[in-house]
Symmetry: C2
Subunit: 181 residues, 2 copies
């Protein structure tokens, strides 16, 4: 990548982070380009879709979550491992209001730039769930897809100003019933 292109890319990402943190996942791309002092086409060149932009914004979080899932799978008690990992996942989704909707849509859309990352998250969760189930500490009538859906629902709660304050409590309500330890 040419030096000026690299500079634009980094600047764009930094500005997008600021804007998206305050305006959420459907922030105006035009506004981002404007604040980054860059032509709109430059934004589209670096991030052909909104999903590509958010995948870049969440890159670190996704990588960390994947590593954490692997680490937790061997050390912690299976129920604690699952719940604490899910808590982090939901928190990451809540960083960008509305991103969870893009993420769930990405699951069934292989052409989405978020598809791979979301597949990884889903698989990591499914593994932690399977271990908890195998050890008899999680109910067995849900699977990895159900778990991802529940994460989506809880992240959505955290995105709604009117409901956000209940999100943590409802997380406990729901997972206390899924785990039977």
């Amino acid at each position: 990548m040419r030096a000026d292109a690299k500079r634009n890319y980094d600047n764009l990402l930094a500005v997008a982070r600021d804007v998206a943190l305050e305006q959420g996942a459907d922030a105006s791309l035009r506004d981002i380009a404007r604040r980054a002092d860059v032509g709109l086409g430059t934004l589209y060149r670096h991030f052909p879709t909104r999903e590509a932009l958010f995948d870049a914004l969440l890159r670190e979080s996704f990588d960390t979550l994947k590593a954490q899932a692997e680490a937790l799978a061997s050390v912690e008690a299976p129920d604690k491992a699952l719940v604490s990992w899910l808590r982090v996942l939901v928190a990451c989704a809540n960083d960008y209001r509305g991103i969870i909707t893009l993420m769930v849509a990405a699951i069934e859309d292989p052409s989405s730039a978020l598809h791979a990352s979301c597949g990884t998250m889903k698989a990591s969760g499914a593994r932690l769930l399977a271990r908890a189930q195998a050890e008899g500490v999680a109910r067995t009538d849900i699977d990895g897809a159900d778990l991802f859906a529940l994460v989506g629902a809880l992240a959505w709660l955290g995105d709604q100003p009117a409901l956000a304050k209940r999100a943590d409590h409802l997380f406990d309500v729901i997972f206390s019933s899924i785990l039977k330890s």
Copy 2:
């Protein structure tokens, strides 16, 4: 209301229903006016906000739900009454994809045209929940606001194409843990 105005109102509502059933709660108002062969200002005259339009579209459902809640409160077993009423509420919300987001926002916004209706729904649910709790068949660590939030989360699941098929199952998972019958 003048005869021509009444005709416009009814027509607008009918067209809006069709469009919203297929496009969801953020259907284009311009498109609705266009399909109703009416000026955009006429739509705004009859329905000053999107919320006002959807409150009108959901009027019957809201009234029916309120009546059902009252009827169920005296005949059915408290746990069955609660769950079956909630199922209908979620189904109504799922009629218009995305309407649940407007509804939850309306709770904390007294100026929303959906505020009253949502308050009524929340109160109806809270009453059924309180009865179930009083009779010892529902866990007591959630309140009416939590219940409404759970309904929102489940309705949101039903709105997501990638998750909708799991919504019914997760409804059961969640409420089987809230009711202890």
